[in-house]
Each structure stands twice: as structure tokens, then as C-alpha cells.
């Protein structure tokens, strides 16, 4: 039973990690606390859902549409909410306010469009295949989810640390001005960055929508709160940190729901955050995460 719950925790936690990754990416490069990330996630989930409902697309295409949908929403968000502020050199705090406003607009738009309904992916979106492994019931979907998250993280790390686009992103993260002097177009970099971040959120949205069998306009908000915990635990801007903390929170949450009570889950997660911050103010990975960090100085 414990192993079973651990497995469920890993699955949910890896999706949290995916969500937090997009959040931490934007924070790492632009120092923006993007409070609309939950709304991007929700719009990505709806993009995938409507593709399935309207065009009967299969699971992989739904994921792809969720990714592209989330990515596009995120890019538009950047253009509307953040780029004008960057242009004027506004303080970082104003982008928090601006993203809260954008988030509210995106939420109420989705609420109007869906008439506040809780919607579901059709049952046959993913075939129910169950393996029994040492007394453990493992669903094919769970394996696929963990596999997808794993691939996304490897892909993201490869992109950031092994390609010239990633080099440009890390350069702008360090100093936008110096990057411009070399000929790097910061608009192109931010386009990629917000698209990537939104695409990760969109995939997470479709996956969470399928796992919890519900898609609704508020689905991103609890995740946004947890993403805060994830990136603070993992160390601001740290990619491995976001993933590890995401897993940890997923596991704690699942175990709490299973063994204590559903209402306690968030209370426990935030208590954990509080404790960790008391002991290690820089987060769990602290400095060791800095190697793989996309940070501006």
C-alpha cells in the first residue's frame, strides 16, 4: 500500500516538477514571478481538451496541442504583460502585479467560455493498461507520464546547455545589456523562453487533466501555490532543484491524502517549506544547484 502511494506520489510530483520548471525558467532569466503561470497551464489543458472533444485527436496530439497552446498563450502574456514593463525598465515588482492582473483576465475568460463547468477528457483518451509488478499496480499512463517528464527535462537541459539557443538564453539571463552588445536579440530569446515555459505548463496541464480526470478554469491556482514551494525548496532558478522538490511535494501530498486527510496536504507542504527555510534559507539544493542554474546577476 505504501509503495503504491509512493508510486502515485512520484507520478503527480513529476508533473508538479514540469509545471514548476516553466515557472523557474522565467524567474531565472527575467526575475519575473509569473503569477499567470497557473492560468497558462489551465489554458494549455483546455487547448488539449478541446482538441480531443472537437476533433477527436489521440493522446499524443492532445499533448502536442496542449504544449503549443500553452506556449502561445505564454508568448502573448509576455507581449502584453511583461514586455512593455521591460522596455521601460520598470522594477521587478511591477511585473508581479501585472501578471496577477493578466492571470485574473485569463481565468475569467476561461470561466465565461466554459460556463464554470468542470470538464473531463473522454474515458478512452488513454487505454487502461495495468501491469502487476511485485504486488504493485502500475498503469501504463503512469509510466508514460514519468517517461514524458523525464524526456522533457533531459530535452530542456540539452537545449539550455548544449545548443546555441540555450547559450543565448543563459547569456541574456546573466546580462541583457552585454548580450545586446554582442548582437543577441533579446526579443527572440524571450520569445523562446516564454514559449518553452508555456509549453511545459501546457503539457503538465493536459497530464494533470487526465490523471485527476478534471479540467476547469481554477485548476492552475493550487499548482501555482505549490510551484512557489517547489522553486523555493529547490533553490530559485535551479532546474534539478525544481524537479526534486516537485517530486518531494507530490509524494508528501499523496501520502498525506492517503494516510492522514486530504485537508492536511497543503498545510503539511507549507510547514515543510517553513522548516526547510529555517534550516537552509537557500533551499534544499542551495549552491549545488547553482551549476545548472539560469540566473541573472
Amino acid at each position: 500500500m505504501l509503495m503504491q502511494q509512493l508510486l502515485n506520489g512520484v507520478v503527480v510530483g513529476s508533473v508538479y516538477g514540469l509545471f514548476a520548471l516553466g515557472f523557474t525558467l522565467i524567474f531565472g532569466v527575467n526575475h519575473i514571478m509569473n503569477m499567470a503561470h497557473g492560468a497558462v497551464f489551465m489554458w494549455g489543458a483546455f487547448a488539449g481538451l478541446y482538441a480531443v472533444i472537437l476533433f477527436d485527436v489521440p493522446f499524443p496530439i492532445a499533448l502536442l496541442i496542449g504544449a503549443v497552446g500553452g506556449g502561445m498563450v505564454s508568448v502573448v502574456l509576455d507581449w502584453v504583460a511583461f514586455r512593455p514593463l521591460r522596455k521601460r525598465g520598470a522594477p521587478e515588482f511591477s511585473s508581479i502585479v501585472s501578471s496577477i492582473g493578466a492571470s485574473l483576465i485569463m481565468l475569467s475568460l476561461a470561466q465565461q467560455l466554459t460556463a464554470t463547468r468542470v470538464m473531463r477528457f473522454p474515458f478512452d483518451i488513454f487505454p487502461i493498461v495495468v501491469f502487476n509488478f511485485m504486488g504493485l499496480r502500475i498503469q501504463l499512463l503512469q509510466l508514460i507520464i514519468v517517461g514524458i517528464v523525464f524526456l522533457m527535462v533531459i530535452g530542456l537541459l540539452y537545449y539550455l546547455y548544449r545548443t546555441k539557443y540555450g547559450r543565448h538564453i543563459r547569456s541574456v539571463a546573466f546580462s541583457e545589456q552585454t548580450s545586446k552588445l554582442l548582437g543577441i536579440n533579446p526579443f527572440a530569446v524571450n520569445f523562446q523562453l516564454f514559449f518553452l515555459s508555456g509549453a511545459l505548463a501546457g503539457i503538465a496541464g493536459v497530464l494533470i487533466g487526465i490523471v485527476f480526470n478534471s479540467v476547469h478554469f481554477m485548476m492552475g491556482e493550487p499548482l501555482l501555490l505549490r510551484a512557489f514551494v517547489v522553486i523555493i525548496l529547490g533553490g530559485l532558478g535551479s532546474i534539478p532543484g525544481a524537479l526534486i522538490a516537485g517530486l518531494l511535494i507530490g509524494i508528501i501530498q499523496t501520502l498525506t491524502v492517503a494516510y492522514i486527510s486530504a485537508g492536511m496536504a497543503d498545510a503539511l507542504v507549507f510547514s515543510l517549506l517553513f522548516l526547510v527555510l529555517l534550516v537552509r534559507p537557500t533551499g534544499l539544493l542551495g549552491n549545488s544547484g547553482a551549476v545548472a542554474r539560469v540566473t541573472r546577476i
Binding site: F174, Q177, K180, L182, G183, I184, I297
Partner: protein, 239 residues
Amino acid sequence: MLTIENLAVAYKGIMALRGVSLSVAKGEIFTLIGPNGAGKSTMLNAASGIVPAMSGRILFDGEPIQGRAAHLIARAGLIQVPEGRRVISPLTVAENLALGREAAGRRGSEASDIDEVYELFPILAERRNQLSGQLSGGQQQMLAIGRALMGKPRILLLDEPSLGLAPVIVREVFDALIRLNRGGLTILLVEQNAKLALQTAHNAAVIEQGRIVHQGAASDLIDDPVVADHYFGRAEVMA
């Protein structure tokens, strides 16, 4: 190659440049010297497009470039090595150099041109896989110059490359600049170390409080008693 006409720049209403004119000819080293806060960096940054010009014209190869996005100016071949070196410290030496090449777009150099930079500054070849933030100040300055060279500049703008470096390292950096210039590179050099700058350059201008106060052949300015009085005393004390 680079002509600046009556350039005025203000920061939030405070004038930093009050009608500066100068002209850098193809193939020369031109130096702009002056005390702290005179407006030297402001001039370079206006040319590079990272601070807006209030009035006046900036012509690069006869084409007006004021108002153009900074990255496009760099890609057109006007590349600045900013004050304080500014290597991208989380990137390795080799990555910084690759960045300089890629960032310049189609104008950028070939991957193999990295060897020319390594030849100019052999220490960079030794340190190629080290994080650039771990380099010494002099090595970082060399890397910043090498990185700019990877973008195949038609004119190289340098903002106080001698700042904070030991005299031997300064000599090494300036010898490299002279070599590059002999190879045909046009250089606009901003310096506080007036004597060194005037010994290195062909032509020079002295800027004070946002205005050019002397201009002429570098060898003439070296002998100018007013300039000597103002700048060498202090530069020598500092050196």
C-alpha cells in the same frame, strides 16, 4: 568609418553629452580620453544603441544608425567591449567565444577563427573549458576582447580596457590591440590612462563634462602642455 555629429545625450534630464562631434577613420586607432564622469562610456553606449541619442547624428559607414536596435548595430559590425569586462561568467571561455561568433549572425566568423583568438591570447586556449567567472581580471579582459573579435567587427569599441589591470597585463592587452590594428581593424578606444592611450592611438579627443575640449593627432596631444598638466600627473600616480 564612424562619424558622430553634435551628439547630445541626457539621463532623465541631466545632460551627459552636450554636442559631441568626432570622426574615426577606417584603419586607425582613435582614443577618447577624459576624467571620471566626462561622458566617455555614454558616447560608446550611444553609438552601440543602448542609450538613446537626444539629438545629433551617428553615422556608421555613412549610414545613420541612431534609433536602431542595439543587437542590429552589433550585427552590422560595430561591436563594443564594455567597461568592467562583463564576460558571461556562468559560461566557459570557449562558450563565451562561441557566443560572440553566433550572436553576430551571418556576419560572424567561422568556427575555426577561434584559433586566431587563441593565438592572440594563448592563455585563453589553456583555460578554454574553465568557467569564465573564474578567470583573473586580465584574462577576463582578454576574453571580452576575443569574444568581440569572434563577431568580426568592422570597428571595435573598447571602454577602459586597462581598468584595474596590472601594468604587465595592460601592456599585453595593448600590444594585442596594436597587432589587431596593424591587421586592419579600426578601433575606438576609451581610456582614463591618457598617456598609454595617446601612445597607442593615431588620433585623439579629450572630453570633459560632455564636451570635446581638445582634438588632434595623438602625438600632438602628448606634447600639449595643457593636456599633460591635466592628465599625465594623475595617470602616472595611478599607474
